[in-house]
Symmetry: C3
Subunit: 428 residues, 3 copies
């Protein structure tokens, strides 16, 4: 899978994305080759909760000509050079004026920063601090940005993959960052390829919702359209970001703190893979800020590698292909798939007998003679399962009480369902 | 007491018990000399929940004659040699066929294992692994088991010792194991002698139920008859097993995890004797599996010495008289008696004043002048007691809040009751 | 402030206070210069809950003349020499009889103990153990106590400082101890000067109740008059005692254990000053015994320095001016004032948007471009605040979730209130 992911990465990398504009559309078109997305356009000026969809941004070219005539901050070399969402400009200015429109990172002198100005009309360039230090202080600079804003629309995409039930598991990722690798190309790539894996599952209890949006305003626009439905149907949701570096898995909990995804990923970390870090919900971060706003309070967490803010390359030109690994990205997809399988397996069952243990011998479920060395693994799990399936405990809780992975109960569960010892609570 | 317990041990030891048959009856008859049990017979074939009472087993003799004519696996030497519940057999077979009917423990080469086959018709012998290795591979073996199954009944016994209230404390032990000491003779012996101690109490708030049954099918049969009543009346219950080794006290909690016996024994371990290990409920184990099945979910735990499964001698011929100690067994009886006294003392009281402290001086309950060195033990406990007796906290909680033993409150409690400062909540 | 406190200390020090009598009145009159107290008199014999207001005590002089004619235990030198609430006496007795009326502390041979006998008619003297050892055993002693009890009244004082709401914060301290410094002059002095600081606050959401009473019988009398109202209105209360030594801050929780003052002071210790010890409620101690009796169960704790019982000088002549420090006393007043400010700031707010984040940019609350090094302190707090202001969390909880002091949210809170993003829940 890694080769195919890499090929898509290479095609998506050069596109200059922003919260609106052609970059988003180009990105979604390419991703549609992997997942058959529905594309939606929300006109500029549309009111979405406390917000308004901004004008659509376009950009063709941008650069600075130094007094010596050297072209620097060239958009065609690296689209991070342009202040994202910049207005257009075309004029000669001196060093002093230019300086106020330059963004650098003094502590990382070789890195180009990623800077945006969505809600204030500004123009600007981002360059390495070393390049900034080398600029002559005398003479005229020619600043040229062929960009601007127009009435248009904000673009997002989604796909609903129906399952046996209307209850939904939701995944959301964002497609508004220019050429950076872990944040954000790893997210959309992980989600598109996760779709393919979920499609291969033999059955799906849940309906799956895949969302590709510009961050913040896109999530707000999406919720304006779909929030009421999602509040009613979503049982678990995840924001995909920072999926591609080689760091340890981290899970940021939903605002509720003990929602189904919180319990599922905690179980996955503690009992299944036995590593991974759990973090509490915080109101900084990505689109969980909207999904977990108090009116919605959706059960949405974020399973990622190294969290944003915790790696130095974040929001700089150093967050590039060499920072991530496609094996790590595939590992994240696999982790999400395991969590999906865990959620599909999890359910609340009811014991059909309730009073005393079932007689397992006549059902062929008990060893014919109990002696030293007989494995009790299957029997112990089966009796534990039958005892706790009282309609009050789901399988995650039952596995936690046994201090082991939910997946180790599959054989015993299947035997109990086949023998009619357990039935799904939802079927009663 | 230990001499008398030992004398009963010696009489009970040689009896070949099983889940049904004469061994159980003989055992209950001897125990009836200590505790006046009612004996009940449940006919073979009786439906009890998901189970059916099996036929009654009888056995007269069993052995193997080796090709050299040596008698081994002699039932009359050690009744563990026979596969418990074995069918009868009388024929000559070769080594290869014999081997499939022999049970040994390779890791304990001198021990005879205890093996049963209740629900599958089989014959077999249990021998030490060393004896097994010495068997000649050529020649004819004569296997002889004079045993079989017949329409009959399952036998169990109980005794109800009435108290002031219909609320019950229940004790259950099992009487289906052949010649083994800790598991199980220690359980029935502890319970029979505990009865004598409870009988000596000056008063009994609770009704006490003493149950002696074959494990599993006996408990299920007992619950079929008494379960509805027990579910309504039982406030605390205990399964007695593994009471005689020299190990530390362990308490296996009830399924509820915070039931009255769980709280009482935890208090007893932590605040009274200041040692003892608490274990969570598990669905393996003994008859708590039935008492704590979800439909009943009785408040039943198990206070024992070293838990079954945790000592090597378990279910082997090494679990014999030399493994246990009658002092340890008496210590376990004493521990149970202390827990009974704790439960009898515990109650929920209501302060008759509620607003501000009572004036203790005119009731003669306060030191006449408070100076340095005046012991405040009594006053502090009395005021703590009066404050927390709001109908919401029982004495165990109140003592826990004071970080001390419930028994240290007896004097203050009696003074408050005498002065009418407290009344039992149940009397209101 | 310390000089002024010290001047009041020096005036209050010599007064011989008790639970009734002129000493209490003189003390309250002096304190009234700082806080305009209302003085209340409760006649002897008045029934207050389970108690009766005792007769009023008066004392003019007391001493012992030794056989050599030496005057010792002179009340005019140190009022601790007299058994507090002693009856009068005037006679010659021998050493043996005298001995039964002397109180000393063997382990602190230079200290005079503080001893009382309120509810048993007795006479006695308190002297140092060394003085006791030096007494001749032969000859006549003249014991003289010009004291007695008469129909009169118990005196207490209070002041209600109204605020915007009828909800009350209550402070209580006691004025019944003779010449001791930490326990108790530090308490009344701290409370009188705290009043002055609270008076300076620009606004007061809460009504404040200041109570100066004799310990125990005074609190009971006060509750007999005001308890019903206080139960209805009190949101937080504190008993002031042991405010003047140089020890660490301690807070003894209210009986509820998680009441508003418990949460406020815990937050103050853990997130604001980052030191201080929390103690659970106990039924020994001071007037919290009455306020937290189960019928009232008021949210009353006690913020102090070193708790009574935990310093050797407690209830002896060593608890004097040299044991305390006026800087420490002022520090305690300041701590109480901070807790008041914390409680005034704390409230439960409701987000007026609820769905998705507010658009901060157009309100001028968002940095115009987000780049490396932009401080997110304000934004992060504002978004955290808006998210958790769902009507279920108060500011203390919200600050705890952010692991920081409630005071750091002031700027963000004010901005949100100004912009109408938040409203007080109580205003809805």
């Amino acid at each position: 899978m890694t080769k195919e992911i890499e090929a898509y990465f290479d095609r998506l990398w050069p596109i200059c994305r922003s919260i609106t504009g052609q970059g988003v559309r180009d990105t979604l078109r390419i991703l549609s080759e992997i997942i058959p997305l529905s594309i939606h356009e929300v006109p500029s000026g549309t009111k979405v909760f406390d917000w308004e969809v901004p004008k659509e941004w376009y950009i063709n070219d941008a650069y600075i000509l130094t007094p010596e005539g050297k072209k620097i901050a060239d958009f065609k070399v690296n689209n991070l050079h342009i202040l994202n969402y910049s207005i257009g400009i075309n004029k000669k200015i001196n060093y002093t004026e230019l300086k106020d429109h330059l963004f650098t990172i003094e502590s990382m002198p070789e890195a180009i920063p990623y800077v945006t100005s969505y809600y204030k009309e500004k123009w600007g360039f981002c360059i390495s601090h070393n390049e900034f230090l080398s600029l002559p202080k005398e003479g005229d600079y020619h600043v040229f940005i062929d960009a601007g804003h127009k009435e248009g629309s904000l673009t997002y995409a989604d796909l609903i993959l129906p399952g046996d039930s209307e209850e939904e598991i939701m995944f959301s990722t964002y497609v508004c960052h220019p050429s950076m690798a872990n944040n954000e190309l790893s997210g959309p790539l992980a989600l598109a390829f996760l779709y393919r894996e979920i499609l291969k599952l033999k059955s799906r209890k849940y309906t799956y919702r895949f969302i590709f949006i510009p961050e913040t305003i896109g999530a707000i626009s999406y919720l304006a359209e779909n929030g009421r439905h999602m509040k009613e149907k979503t049982v678990a949701g995840f924001v995909l970001t920072c999926c591609g570096d080689n760091g340890e898995f981290h899970y940021k909990k939903s605002r509720r703190g003990n929602s189904l995804p919180d319990r599922a990923v905690t179980h996955y970390f503690e009992k299944v893979i036995k590593h991974g870090q759990i973090r509490p919900f915080k109101t900084d971060g990505s689109d969980e800020r909207q999904y977990c706003s108090p009116g919605f309070n959706l059960p949405v967490g974020s399973l990622m590698r190294t969290p944003y803010y915790e790696y130095a390359q974040y929001h700089t030109s150093f967050d590039n292909k060499s920072f991530i690994s496609f094996e790590a990205l595939e590992g994240t997809i696999q982790a999400y798939l395991s969590v999906v399988e865990l959620l599909e397996l999890n359910d609340t069952f009811v014991n059909t007998l309730m009073y005393c243990e079932p007689q397992l011998g006549r059902r062929g479920l008990y060893p014919t003679s109990l002696t030293h060395g007989t494995s009790r693994d299957f029997i112990d799990r089966l009796l534990h399962l039958v005892n706790y399936c009282d309609g009050e405990h789901d399988l995650i809780e039952i596995a936690n009480l046994f201090d082991t992975s939910i997946f180790t109960f599959k054989e015993a569960l299947d035997a109990c369902l086949k023998e009619g010892l357990l039935v799904k609570k939802s079927s009663l």
